[in-house]
């Protein structure tokens, strides 16, 4: 069968336990830059969003600097996420099993993954996060530019700017929500965070959460190594 969502660098290393490469160094750095800027944006954005959170601007050396830096971090996030997008969009294309997976979401929440179909490198939940982020970031960057007083206020009408403000605020709330899901899942599903730190997971983790993906890796490996027999 076609290795539709297997990256070239992903490999299985037999042993106890089996080790599976999941993320390259580049992917990990890229991810963490994105993560960091998203968090900084959330903090600075919230500071300007709600008075009760204005104190957060202290983290950035005051309101003036917060106002100044927020849009620039936004630009950074945009490009850095674009990197992730190029890396992962294929693996996040929708699959038949994703539907079933979603249908049995209760079992997922209840930690009964045995009842859900085997999934590839990403399950429907992860795919949701991926696409939600992609769309929201587009929305945020475009509405953000419109309300970037210092450089772009001259190019739009006050009416447009007011719309942009509202859109930007709503989208920001949404993306933080999505981030919360992403972040919680990473904690809840143990072994996930190390994956993004070390780059590899144990065979068991792959077997439990992304069995289809594991099988493909193994199949590919055997194809490469056909003929060679393990020492008896």
């Amino acid at each position: 069968m076609a290795a539709y969502d297997v990256g070239p660098s992903e490999k299985v290393h037999p042993g106890k336990p089996v080790v599976v490469d999941r993320y390259t160094v580049g992917a990990r750095i890229n991810h963490w830059i994105t993560a960091a800027s998203l968090i900084l944006l959330a903090l600075s954005g919230l500071a300007l969003f709600h008075p009760s959170l204005f104190f957060l601007s202290g983290l950035f050396g005051g309101g003036q600097f917060t106002r100044f830096i927020h849009p620039w971090i936004g630009v950074l996030l945009f490009f850095s996420f674009f990197g992730l997008f190029l890396r992962f969009w294929k693996a996040n294309l929708w699959k038949r099993e994703d539907g079933t997976w979603l249908a049995r979401f209760r079992d997922v929440l209840a930690n009964h993954e045995e009842n859900v179909p085997e999934v590839g490198k990403y399950n429907a939940g992860q795919k949701f996060v991926f696409w939600a982020m992609s769309i929201l970031i587009i929305v945020l960057i475009s509405s953000g530019l419109v309300i970037w007083e210092q450089y772009f206020s001259a190019y739009t009408t006050l009416g447009q700017q007011r719309v942009a403000l509202l859109v930007h605020a709503v989208a920001a709330v949404a993306i933080i929500g999505v981030w919360i899901i992403h972040f919680y899942s990473a904690i809840w599903v143990r072994g996930t965070i190390p994956a993004m730190i070390r780059g590899s997971v144990t065979g068991g983790w792959a077997w439990r959460h992304h069995r289809k993906w594991l099988r493909e890796l193994v199949t590919m490996r055997s194809k490469e190594g056909s003929g060679s027999k393990p020492a008896e």
Binding site: P14, K16, S153, V173
Partner: protein
Amino acid sequence: MFPPIPNPSTTDVAPRFSEKDLIRRSASTVPAPEQQLTEVAKLIDVSKCIGCKACQTACIEWNDTHEEVGVFAGVFENPPDLTPDMFTLMRFSEWENPETNELEWLIRKDGCMHCADPGCLKACPAPGAIVQYSNGIVDFVHENCIGCGYCIKGCPFNIPRISRVDNTAYKCTLCSDRIAVGQGPACAKACPTQAIVFGTKDEMKQHAEGRITDLKSRGYANAGLYDPPGVGGTHVMYVLHHADQPELYSGLPREPRISPLVEAWKGITKYAGLTVLGVAAGVGVLHHLIMGPNRVTEDDEEHAEELTEGDGHGRV
């Protein structure tokens, strides 16, 4: 004539109002002031205005701003728009009255209206950057301003401007420093024809009535006072010969109000947003407490090992 504004005193007079007279403070709350100051107002009688721009030069001189010398752009507005250094601007429009076929040169002094319900203050995210005194003055506090420009979007009259020098917002202060010592605004003192007068809001309304009667006697049937309720009334009001068509006066809004978008953004979104996020976080925690973490079991590892050892042929 309307009693002129007295000459300033050069002795050090203590200001007659201060922070403890604030009724609103941007992105923060203030204790209710002990007493309500008498509301003041500036009345601009467009029908008496000769568009001489004395208000503009007096404003620049009093506030020590430094507007650049521009160019002639085919119109009388100079500078072409309000700027961080030009808090007030004469706007000129030539209108042929279809009823009389008379040319009317409608000249309006534009500037901060000091709304009772100030959109700038509502939109402002920086605590204390915009304040409102119980006498009606809405003022910007530059050391608290972060230059985000939200006030501009909040303002129904498009008044504040951000300085590219210090990145803070500027607008008419109603000469709070003069009023604080019992003076009137510099523009009102200068105005040669007393088209601008200043006093308590009640006095201004009474004075306006007299002017409106005079205008009606001169055939301006629709003469009236511009004190728009949509923003809770203003502390800068206009007497207009055509109060039924304020937009004739270089686009003075007919029914100004804080944009619903801004209201939504600063209202529902603000609260709903935080709630949603709070809930999301809460649910996560809750789920963790009930369901606990999703751990890889020994079993899973063995399966994985078998799978790899079985060169992919193994079945379980």
